[in-house]
């Protein structure tokens, strides 16, 4: 639904000649605007959660992706709906970018029976198989091998579907990630391993946890390509993902993409956390100055591909979607007690 909206809007772009942006070469205007709208949708959903969280009606831990919208958006827009993704505790952006329904998402956060998991998963397990979002594990790296399995399934079924595993920098510290990279390389499976390196795991900086800082290098011991991309440049992410997706679809195997990015809010919860002292305001400011959504909007505007009025209209549409979704969630019933015992064996 939301994707369709975007496309319709894209068709309304003004005919006026635009200033070329070399970085956009080869990318259609619909796609570019969709990248913007997807990031906007993620941003605003997350900000809405942050705003609503103090009401204490969203009764589950929420790991927000504010600042990291480009990774999910750039990768997912390089995918088809039939391609699959799995994710982590920080899965909102992936669910949204993959095309997950917002009503179902908010209802899930609110623990309602109308939620995408019937209220039984919560924030860390958003699932929308109808758009290829196959869920998320709250165990760091837990879902990585699942993507290898969905890729195996695709290959065995002779489809050309591609599987994506989204994970954080800390997942590179888990053995199962390395097993998965190696396994995918061995069997030349169509997998994108997308490591969103936001430099921290909870409050621990990368340098305390890994001996180097370029995580694409971690592919080197498993015989698959590893590439690093500026994770706050959604175009760069899209291009890297597209190349890897094409490669995977051709049967040439997996790719590890390190998406360098940054989380603005606290690890879990709605607030800023600079007072904890594990990172500096200056560092946060530097990254906020590079936030990806506004950056794309400005480039699109300069290129006359997204005039302020149209942007406002798209933004309003996102706002309406969210308002509708929250209202839907809040007015939905909680699951009946019988649901506790369903879906087990």
């Amino acid at each position: 639904m939301s994707r369709a909206t975007t496309k319709r809007s894209a068709r309304r772009r003004p005919a006026a000649p635009r200033k070329r942006d070399a970085g956009f070469r080869g990318l259609g205007p619909a796609l570019l605007v969709d990248l913007y709208v997807t990031m906007r949708r993620i941003r605003r959903v997350e900000e809405t959660i942050a705003a609503l969280y103090p009401e204490q009606e969203i009764r589950c831990p929420t790991h927000l992706s504010i600042g990291q919208e480009a990774g999910a958006s750039g990768v997912c827009l390089a995918l088809r709906t039939t391609d699959t993704a799995v994710s982590t505790h920080r899965c909102h952006a992936h669910y949204i970018a993959k095309g997950g329904d917002l009503r179902s998402m908010f209802a899930e956060l609110y623990g309602r029976v109308t939620g995408c998991c019937g209220g039984k998963g919560g924030s860390m397990h958003l699932t929308a198989p109808e758009v290829g979002m196959l869920g998320a594990s709250a165990i760091v790296a837990g879902s990585v091998p699942l993507a290898v399995g969905t890729a195996l399934a695709a290959k065995m079924a002779s489809t050309d579907e591609v599987a994506v595993a989204f994970f954080g920098d800390a997942a590179m510290e888990q053995g199962v990630t390395h097993e998965s990279l190696a396994l995918a390389a061995l069997r030349r499976l169509p997998v994108l391993f997308v490591c969103e390196n936001n430099l921290y795991a909870t409050n621990t900086p990368l340098r305390i946890r890994q001996a180097g800082s370029d995580l694409a290098q971690r592919a080197a011991g498993h015989w698959l390509p590893g590439i690093t991309v500026d994770g706050n440049d959604v175009i760069a992410v899209y291009r890297a993902a597209k190349a890897a997706v094409d490669r995977a679809r051709r049967g040439d195997g997996p790719t590890l993409i390190e998406v360098k990015t940054y989380r603005f809010r606290e690890h879990v919860g709605p607030n800023y956390d600079i007072e904890l002292g594990y990172r500096t305001q200056a560092e946060l400011d530097r990254w906020m100055a590079r936030e990806p959504m506004g950056a794309l909007a400005r480039r699109l505007e300069r290129a006359r591909m997204l005039e302020p009025a149209r942007r406002a209209a798209l933004d309003a549409q996102v706002e309406a979607e969210i308002t509708d979704a929250v209202a839907f969630a809040k007015s939905s019933p909680f699951p009946e007690q019988a649901a506790l015992y369903a879906d087990v064996e």
Binding site: G121, H125, T127, I139, L146, A147, L152, A153, M156, A157
Partner: protein, 346 residues
């Protein structure tokens, strides 16, 4: 009826399940090896080829996750491990993912994944290669745990597992592979949660798990010679557990002995005892006795191995305790355990 060995029954179940359902495939370390997994997977490899039966790296955790992922996409992977000890490497994937993904997704996704693993015993395999870890899996909601003892059940339960839409852990005792028994040729499906009375009797109920069924039958023979008729029950599946059958039998005999291949404390025998004690309040004529491994790791030395494993002798002794009958000399002749089953060399 046609006789098959346990290993042949597993092979046949695998091949019939694969023939019926092209979504079933087999993977695991050594599954295409002629000597691998006691020959239970090679037949499938020969019949269906390397695309549906394939050898893997020693990456048990990722393989399990790969199985979960493939299962979510409509396949039914059969992941095979040469020892259930290796499952400890995969506990996160089994317990946190396989067992829970369906629940966490509100039923949107299912994980039809079957995991076979072998319980080792004998020839000094020692502490890390002869554990019997069923209690750990049986504790986990979202998993089914099957432990077939007879060739017929091996086939029927594995067929059921491979047609189930939930994860199933199938634990097979190494000493069963060469046992023969009648096995129907056509595919059939033994239901989960339905135990079997493998020997009827009126004086005492012996619930025995996996290979302990054979030890219990031997014990029952000995007891019969003394006029004690033991009913031997094989629960066949631990999760779900056929408490009703166990309780019906023990209600009739008034006495219950439980024999497990695993450790005693916090083991499978405890759950069966706890359920029976609760259900059969006022009905039992004697306290429930448990026969299980002592609470120590498996020793390497054959001299200690024979002291480690309880067998018919211990079962007979437990039954006599229940009956408050004196231990007669007949038990002295019994081997401490059925040691000849795997007489090496490795």
């Amino acid at each position: 009826m046609r006789q098959l060995k346990y290993r042949e029954a597993i092979d046949e179940a695998t091949r019939q399940a694969m023939a019926k359902d092209e979504r079933v495939f087999v993977m695991g370390v050594g599954v295409d090896d002629p000597k691998g997994i006691f020959g239970t997977t090679r037949g499938a490899f020969e019949q269906f080829g390397g695309s549906r039966v394939f050898d893997t790296p020693l990456s048990e955790a990722a393989l399990t996750g790969m199985g979960v992922g493939a299962a979510m996409r409509g396949f039914h992977p059969l992941l095979v491990h040469a020892r259930n000890d290796f499952l400890l490497l995969t506990m996160d994937q089994i317990v946190n993912n396989a067992a829970k993904w369906r629940y966490m997704s509100g039923g949107k996704l299912k994980v039809p994944l079957t995991i076979r693993a072998i319980i080792g015993r004998g020839w000094g395999q020692a502490a890390q290669h002869s554990q019997s870890l069923q209690a750990m899996f049986a504790h986990v909601p979202g998993l089914a745990v099957i432990m077939p003892t007879s060739p017929a059940d091996a086939k029927g339960l594995l067929m059921t597992a491979l047609s189930s839409d939930s994860p199933v852990i199938c634990l097979e005792h190494r000493w069963l592979y060469d046992k023969s028994g009648p096995v129907p040729e056509d595919p059939y499906y033994t239901p989960l949660g339905v135990g079997a009375v493998v020997r009827p009797g009126r004086d005492v109920t012996i619930v025995a798990v996996s290979h302990m069924v054979l030890e219990a039958l031997q014990a029952a023979e000995t007891l019969a010679a003394e006029g004690i008729e033991a009913e031997v029950i094989d629960p066949r599946t631990l999760r779900p557990l056929d408490s009703a059958l166990i309780c019906r039998s023990a209600a009739r005999t008034g006495r219950l002995v439980i024999a497990d291949t695993g450790w005693r404390s916090y083991g499978v025998s405890a759950e069966i005892a706890a359920r029976a004690a609760e259900e059969l309040w006022g009905v039992l004529k004697a306290p429930i006795r448990r026969v299980a491994l002592p609470d120590v790791p498996t020793p390497g030395s054959s001299a200690l191995e024979s002291a480690y494993y309880p067998g018919p002798r211990e079962i007979v002794a437990a039954v006599k305790q229940c009956l408050e009958a004196p231990a007669t000399s007949t038990t002295d002749g019994l081997a401490p355990s059925n040691r000849k089953e795997f007489e090496g060399p490795f």
